[in-house]
């Protein structure tokens, strides 16, 4: 598919001259304009473009914030308050950057779960998938480092808890944490190195994104049917078809983003982070940012330090094994009537873990959000059940169903399926 019938012909003397020396226009034409793309991509496929946009937003707003922020334990908190109160449009830049991180994670979760639903991790896209997981890990690291910088209570104690994960390593754990801190606890030295790395990692992400797109453009896009492109009838050019579709989705996404930036800028944050860091008192209820909550619940479900930390990291790394754990030859869950059900069960389990991760560490009973109804099950026990299920899903359910399930018949081609859907649904569409 990458060898589609694109053709670029330089039209004037300048482009001819450039094409013979640096064929950059040809490259853009091949990969961003004429790139043959399955004609049936739905709106779940627009998050890749949205993510690229968010990376740019975070880098630009971050570079500008760094012009005003001071990475020092005595000045960091005040410099952030100065950005909020005195720097021209500082409040906007900071709210864009802080909420931008959340938007970035919303988009990346939808992007990942879309790839999972349509089987985009399967051959020949395993490397593309693993590069995506590396980007996700880098995003987690960048988000965590950035959250430390305002040097509020949540910053300080979040940094303490996360760096202490490494103290679970037998024998050398304590040396490693002191090496990470540059002190006997989270300290000014920690803040300064975290700032340096927080500035660096987005550019590493950008580098891996280039590899990710390269790996995408070798086999080309998967699609909601999960079947291979069989010919030119199955594809359309990326531009204008998907630049337009991605562009429209981006506008809608930016509206959603703006809702947070302008109307509820602190909703996704935590009030305790407006209290300056105090190394003598841990807030009564510390929680990570929302995007880490399911993993945090996995960590807390195990009453053993090392096992908890290993399971939490395992909960991410298991995604890298997915291409080999899934034994089914059929990519898209559209044609997997049984596995599809388990997909949604897993999504529900991840949401429940996320809810549990936000709760206090005592072992009271689970209360259903918004209703106040108390369930006859402890929070700890429910986290344990969900954690066990999470791993069973990958190591037992996924391989077993792939072997045992009878998939629905696959369409002959993308083109035929699209046309059949159009003719089949035209009558009710007209009536509506």
């Amino acid at each position: 598919m990458s060898h589609g019938n694109y053709s670029y012909t330089p039209t004037n003397a300048l482009t001819k001259w450039l094409d013979a020396r640096l064929p950059i226009v040809r490259f853009v034409d091949e990969h961003l304009m004429q790139f043959p793309t399955p004609k049936n991509l739905n709106y779940w496929y627009t998050f890749g473009g949205i993510l690229a946009f968010m990376l740019v937003v975070q880098i630009i707003s971050g570079v500008v914030l760094a012009m005003h922020y001071v990475p020092h334990e005595t000045l960091a908190f005040d410099s952030v308050e100065r950005i909020m109160r005195d720097v021209n449009y500082g409040w906007l830049l900071r709210y864009v950057h802080a909420n931008g991180a959340s938007m970035f994670f919303i988009a990346v979760y939808l992007h990942i779960f879309r790839a999972y639903y349509y089987g985009s991790y399967k051959a020949p896209r395993e490397v593309l998938w693993i590069l995506g997981i590396i980007i996700y890990l880098l995003m987690m690291a960048t988000g965590f480092l950035g959250y430390t910088l305002p040097w509020g209570q949540m910053s300080f104690w979040g940094a303490t808890v996360i760096t202490n994960f490494f103290s679970a390593i037998p024998f050398v754990g304590e040396s490693i944490t002191q090496w990470l801190w540059g002190s006997f606890a989270v300290d000014n030295s920690t803040l300064q190195r975290f700032f340096s790395l927080h500035y660096l990692l987005p550019f590493v992400i950008a580098g891996v994104v280039v590899l990710h797109i390269w790996a995408l453009h070798v086999p080309g896009n998967n699609n909601p049917l999960g079947i291979d492109v069989k010919g030119p009838a199955d594809t359309v050019a990326f531009h204008p078809y998907y630049t337009t579709k991605d562009g429209f989705a981006l506008v809608v996404f930016v509206l959603f983003f703006s809702l947070f930036v302008f109307f509820m800028p602190n909703m996704l944050g935590h009030t305790d982070n407006y209290v300056p860091a105090n190394r003598l008192v841990t807030p009564a209820h510390i929680v990570p940012e929302w995007y880490y909550l399911p993993l945090y619940a996995v960590l807390r479900s195990v009453p053993d330090k090392l096992a908890g930390v290993l399971l939490m990291f395992g909960a991410i790394f298991v995604w890298a094994l997915l291409p080999w754990l899934d034994t089914s030859k059929v990519r898209s869950n559209k044609f997997r009537p049984i596995y599809r059900q388990f997909y949604w069960i897993l999504m529900a389990v991840i949401l429940i873990l996320g809810y549990l991760g936000a709760q206090t560490a005592d072992d009271s009973n689970v209360v259903i959000p918004w209703t106040g109804v108390e369930l006859p099950i402890g929070k700890l026990l429910l986290s344990q059940i969900c954690t066990v299920y999470y791993f069973l899903h990958f190591f037992l359910i996924t391989p077993a169903i792939g072997l045992w399930e009878t998939p629905d018949p696959l369409p002959e081609s993308i083109s035929k399926a699209v046309l059949a859907k159009k003719s089949g649904s035209s009558a009710p569409a007209a009536a509506a």
Binding site: N164, W179, W181, D187, R279, G308, D363
Partner: protein, 190 residues
């Protein structure tokens, strides 16, 4: 070009030796050049300089806990009540995850001095919420400590650490004091 190749093959040349020697030298040099970049992350000399903190015990009433700072870490000083001492001393070692007698953790039973860093993931256990064993409850992940600061329930693997300290008088304690020369006494710090 592999080592096996150079050993077995009759065509070993001096050039092969040069390749291996150069590559080996580059690897060693690379590792040596890398070390300063790794070691700069470790605590610097000023951080390492062992600091001592002197603390006046007079204001504490029985049952009171205060948190003070030592080496950038919080330290609990707790004046224990007779009941708390008795509870700590009467606990059978078999009930403990990290078995230590209370006597081995205090110099004077009335004064319990501990590094206030939860051995799970480093939070400061709560002074207000004392947990199921009357000591401390860590708010982050629910570890319960007893009145000797020993882990009794929850994910923390170890007891709260006892820092090095010495009593300068009945009412003064010097925290961070490693085994000290006799001349280095209270007068110098008073």
């Amino acid at each position: 070009m592999t080592l096996a190749h150079t050993v077995d093959n009759a065509n070993v040349t001096r050039r092969d030796f040069l390749y291996v020697a150069s590559a080996g030298m580059a690897a060693v040099g690379g590792a040596l050049a890398l070390w300063p970049f790794i070691d700069q992350m470790n605590p610097a000399a000023d951080t390492l300089a062992l600091k001592e903190v002197e603390f006046d015990l007079t204001p504490l009433v029985p049952g009171q806990i205060v948190t003070i700072e030592w080496q950038k870490k919080p330290v609990f000083v707790r004046r224990r009540t007779p009941e708390e001492i008795k509870a700590a001393e009467d606990t059978p070692l078999a009930d403990l995850k990290d078995p230590q007698t209370d006597q081995s953790r205090v110099q004077k039973p009335e004064w319990l001095i501990l590094v206030a860093t939860c051995t799970h993931l480093g939070c400061v256990p709560s002074k207000e919420i004392k947990g199921d064993y009357g000591g401390w409850l860590c708010p982050c992940h629910g570890s319960h400590y007893d009145t000797s600061g020993r882990i009794r329930k929850g994910p923390a693997p170890k007891n709260l650490a006892v820092p090095p300290y010495e009593f300068l008088s009945d009412t003064k304690v010097l925290i961070g004091a490693e085994p000290k020369p006799a001349a280095h006494n209270a007068a110098e710090h008073g």
